[in-house]
C-alpha cells in the first residue's frame, strides 16, 4: 500500500466521518452533564435515533423528515429520563442504564421489518471539489451536511457555554443548583431542557449512522459508540473543543485498525479497539488526582438529585 499524499487525505476524510457520531452525542451529553445531570442513556438514545431516522426515510422517502424525526425521537425518549430524574427524583445512574437497555430492546422491536432494506444515498456537498483538489479535497469537501454541522458544534457549544447568558445559567445550575435556585432560576426546567437537547443530539448521531455512515438498519448498530461518547465527555474534561479533538483520536483509532488489519500489522486489532477505553481511564486518573484540574470544568453537582421544598 502506498502512503502517498492523496491517500492520507482520504484517510483523514474517513477519520472525520467516523468521528461524527461521537462528536454529536458527546456534545449533547456535555451540555446535559454541564447542567448537573449524568445521563448514561446515550447508547439507548442513539440507537432509537438510528432506527427512527431509517424507518422514517423508508416510509416517507424524505431525508429531511428522517433527520428531524430522529432528533425528535431522541427528545421523546430522553423525556422519559427527564421525567423520572427531574420530576420523580430517581437516581441518574440507574435511570440512564434503564434507558440504554430499554432503547436497545425497543429499537430492535421497531426495526424488525426494516432489516435488510437498502438505504438511500445521502447527498454530499461540493463533490466536484473533492475530486479536483488533491489532499485537501477529500478532507474539506464531499461530506454530508451533518458532518459540517458536527464539526461546527463544539465551537458553538463552547461559545454558548462561555459567552451567552443561557450558557452561564446552565453552568450555574450544574455547579450550584441551590444558589441558582435562590437566584430565581428554575433549576428543574433548565435541566429538562439540557436533557432534551442531549436527546436530540444523540438521536441525530444515531441517524448519522443509519442514514449516512452505513446506510441501512442493523440491530444494535451503534455498537458501543454511545459509551465511547460518554467516555469522551470525561476524556475532554467537559470542554467542548477537547471533545472534538478526542472524537478525532477515537475515530482515528477505529479507522486505523481497519487499515492495519488490511496491511497485516502485528498489533492485535482488539488492543487498538481497547485503546479509547484505556485512554479514558488514564485521563480520568490524571485529572482526578489533581483536584484543582478536575474542578476546573467538572459540574460540581453532577449526578446529584436536586429537590426544592415547595
Amino acid at each position: 500500500m502506498s502512503l502517498d499524499i492523496s491517500f492520507i487525505g482520504i484517510l483523514i476524510g474517513s477519520i472525520m466521518a467516523s468521528s461524527v457520531p461521537l462528536i454529536l452525542a458527546a456534545s449533547g451529553e456535555l451540555i446535559t452533564e454541564r447542567s448537573g445531570v449524568l445521563n448514561l442513556g446515550v447508547e439507548g438514545m442513539m440507537i432509537i435515533g438510528a432506527i427512527s431516522g431509517f424507518a422514517l426515510m423508508v416510509i416517507t422517502d424524505n431525508l429531511f423528515i428522517a433527520i428531524v424525526g430522529s432528533m425528535l425521537s431522541g427528545v421523546i425518549i430522553s423525556l422519559i429520563f427527564g421525567f423520572l430524574t427531574q420530576s420523580l427524583l430517581t437516581n441518574h445512574v440507574a435511570t440512564g442504564l434503564a434507558l440504554t437497555i430499554f432503547g436497545i430492546g425497543l429499537s430492535a422491536m421497531l426495526g424488525k421489518n426494516f432489516v435488510g432494506i437498502p438505504g438511500k444515498e445521502f447527498p454530499i456537498l461540493f463533490s466536484s471539489l473533492k475530486e479536483s483538489i488533491p489532499f485537501f479535497g477529500p478532507i474539506l469537501f464531499g461530506h454530508s451536511i451533518v458532518l459540517y454541522f458536527a464539526f461546527a458544534l463544539p465551537f458553538l457549544t463552547n461559545y454558548f457555554l462561555k459567552k451567552t447568558k443561557l450558557g452561564l445559567i446552565v453552568r450555574a445550575v450544574g455547579d450550584s443548583p441551590v444558589s441558582a435556585s435562590n437566584q430565581g432560576i428554575n433549576v428543574i426546567l433548565v435541566r429538562y431542557c439540557c436533557i432534551l437537547y442531549g436527546g436530540a443530539m444523540c438521536g441525530l448521531a444515531g441517524a448519522y449512522l443509519s442514514l449516512i455512515y452505513t446506510p441501512q438498519w442493523i440491530e444494535n448498530m451503534t455498537a458501543g459508540r454511545g459509551w465511547i461518547a460518554l467516555a469522551l465527555v470525561v476524556f475532554a474534561t467537559w470542554s467542548p473543543i477537547k471533545v472534538l479533538i478526542g472524537a478525532l483520536i477515537f475515530g482515528g483509532i477505529t479507522i486505523l485498525q481497519l487499515h492495519m488489519q488490511a496491511i497485516g500489522f502485528r498489533i492485535p486489532v482488539q488492543f487498538l479497539s481497547a485503546l479509547p477505553y484505556l485512554m479514558t481511564i488514564i485521563v480520568l486518573v490524571v485529572i482526578s488526582r489533581d483536584s484543582r484540574k478536575i474542578k476546573l470544568n467538572t459540574p460540581t453537582s453532577l449526578g446529584r438529585i436536586f429537590y426544592k421544598e415547595k
Binding site: 449524568l38 448514561l40 439507548g44 422519559i80 423520572l84 420523580l88 427524583l89 430517581t90 437516581n91 445512574v93 440507574a94 435511570t95 442504564l97 434503564a98 434507558l99 440504554t100 437497555i101 430499554f102 432503547g103 436497545i104 430492546g105 425497543l106 429499537s107 430492535a108 422491536m109 426495526g111 424488525k112 440491530e219 444494535n220 458501543g224 459509551w227 460518554l230 467516555a231 470525561v234 492485535p268 482488539q270 488492543f271 479497539s273 481497547a274 477505553y277 484505556l278 479514558t280 481511564i281 480520568l284 486518573v285 482526578s288 488526582r289 483536584s291 429537590y307 421544598e309 415547595k310
Partner: protein
C-alpha cells in the same frame, strides 16, 4: 388540590411492595407495546411469561438463567448498599471467565476431582482482581468508579475476543473463534439427567445465605449500611472508608467472576465471544428489583430470568427479535424507580373550600 409532602421515614411494607407494582405495570406496558406492534397482547404475553415455564425443561432453563443474575446481584448489593456504583459487573464476569477458563484449558486433557474447584476459585479471583481496578483508582486517585468500571467492560470483552481468536483458539477448531472444549472434570455437575441446570445454583444459594449473614449479622455489614445511609456518619464513627470500598468491590467482583465461571463450566463448556447475554448489566436491575435484599434478589432474579426466556420463546413463536427482553427489563427498572416516588413522598389530596385561605 393535591399536595406533595416529603415523608420522614419510609414505610417498610411499601418498600417491598412497590417492586410488585413495577412488575404489574411492566406487564401492562408490554401488552400495550405488543398491541401497537399488531400482536394479540394476551397471546403474546402468554408466550412471554407462561409458555416458557410450563414444563420441567423450561423451569430448569429459568433456574439456569437466574443463577448468574442472582450471584452478580448479590455481589452488587454490597456495592450499592455502601454507595459504590460498580456498574462493570459484566467486565468482572468476563475477566473471571477468562481466568477460570484459562485454568480449565490448562487441564483440557486431564481428569481429576481437584480441577473444578481450582477453576471456580480462579474465576472468583479473576473477577475480584478486575473489580479491584476501579476500587483502587477510586480510593487512591479519587476517580469516578462508574466510568472506570464501565470502560473496563469493553476492555475485558476485547481481551476475551483476542484470546479466543488468537492464542487460545482451538488448534483443531477450523479457525472458529472459540477455545477447546473443557474436560469433563472442569464442568459443573448436572443436577438432573436431560436438563441443563447444574451445581452452580448452589453457589448462588450459598452467596445468598452468606450475604444475608454478613450484611445483617456482622460489623462489616453494619459499616456498609451506615456508609450507604450517610457518609458523614460513617466518617464520624471512624469507619475505615478506603478498606470498605476495596472489600465491597472485591466481594462484588468475586460474585461476578463466579457467575462467569458458572456459565463457561456449566451450559457452555468452552470460551467463546458470547459467554454472557449482558447478565452483568441486567443484574443491576435484579439488584434494584430485589431491593438489595438477599431474599428479594432471589425473587427478582427469577422474574428477570423469565424476561430472557420469554424473549427467546417470543422469538420462536412470534418472530420478534430476542432483544425485546430488554424492553421488559428496561421497563421494570423505569417503573420501579418511578414507584419509589411513593416511598419518599406522600401525596395528599386536600379539600379546600372556596373561602379558605390558600397558602
Amino acid at each position: 388540590m393535591i399536595k406533595i409532602e416529603k415523608r420522614n421515614d419510609v414505610p417498610m411494607a411499601l418498600y417491598f411492595f412497590t417492586p410488585f407494582i413495577a412488575i404489574i405495570l411492566t406487564i401492562l406496558g408490554g401488552g400495550i407495546i405488543f398491541y401497537i406492534l399488531g400482536f394479540n397482547p394476551i397471546e403474546a404475553l402468554k408466550f412471554y411469561f407462561i409458555t416458557p415455564i410450563s414444563n420441567l425443561y423450561g423451569f430448569s432453563e429459568l433456574l439456569l438463567k437466574a443463577t448468574p443474575l442472582c450471584l452478580i446481584a448479590i455481589g452488587l448489593s454490597f456495592c450499592f448498599k455502601s454507595n459504590n456504583w460498580n456498574i462493570g459487573a459484566e467486565g468482572q464476569l468476563t475477566f473471571g471467565a477468562i481466568v477460570g477458563g484459562g485454568v480449565a484449558l490448562l487441564f483440557y486433557n486431564q481428569e481429576g476431582f481437584y480441577i473444578l474447584p481450582l477453576v471456580i476459585i480462579a474465576g472468583a479471583i479473576g473477577g475480584m482482581i478486575f473489580a479491584l481496578i476501579p476500587a483502587i483508582l477510586k480510593t487512591y486517585f479519587n476517580t469516578n468508579e462508574i466510568l472506570v468500571s464501565l470502560m473496563l467492560v469493553y476492555v475485558s470483552k476485547l481481551l476475551l475476543d483476542y484470546l479466543v481468536v488468537g492464542p487460545w483458539s482451538n488448534p483443531e477448531g477450523f479457525n472458529f473463534p472459540e477455545t477447546r472444549q473443557f474436560s469433563n472434570s472442569s464442568r459443573m455437575p448436572l443436577l438432573f439427567e436431560g436438563l441443563r441446570i447444574h451445581a452452580g445454583i448452589f453457589l448462588a444459594l450459598a452467596a445468598v445465605m452468606l450475604s444475608w449473614f454478613v450484611l445483617y449479622k456482622t460489623y462489616l455489614g453494619f459499616q456498609i449500611k451506615v456508609s450507604g445511609l450517610s457518609l458523614k456518619t460513617a466518617k464520624y464513627a471512624g469507619f475505615k472508608g478506603k478498606t470498605m470500598i476495596l472489600v465491597v468491590f472485591m466481594i462484588s467482583g468475586a460474585c461476578a467472576g463466579l457467575a462467569g465461571v458458572g456459565e463457561i463450566t456449566g451450559p457452555i463448556g468452552q470460551l467463546h465471544r458470547m459467554i454472557s447475554p449482558d447478565y452483568g448489566f441486567t443484574a443491576i436491575i435484579v439488584a434494584f428489583l430485589g431491593r438489595l435484599n438477599p431474599f428479594g434478589i432471589i425473587f427478582a432474579s427469577l422474574v428477570v430470568a423469565l424476561t430472557y426466556l420469554g424473549a427467546e420463546t417470543a422469538q420462536i413463536f412470534l418472530q420478534i427479535p430476542k432483544y425485546t427482553g430488554q424492553v421488559f427489563q428496561g421497563m421494570i427498572l423505569f417503573f420501579l424507580l418511578a414507584s419509589d416516588y411513593l416511598l419518599f413522598f406522600k401525596v395528599k389530596i386536600l379539600n379546600l373550600k372556596k373561602n379558605e385561605l390558600r397558602y
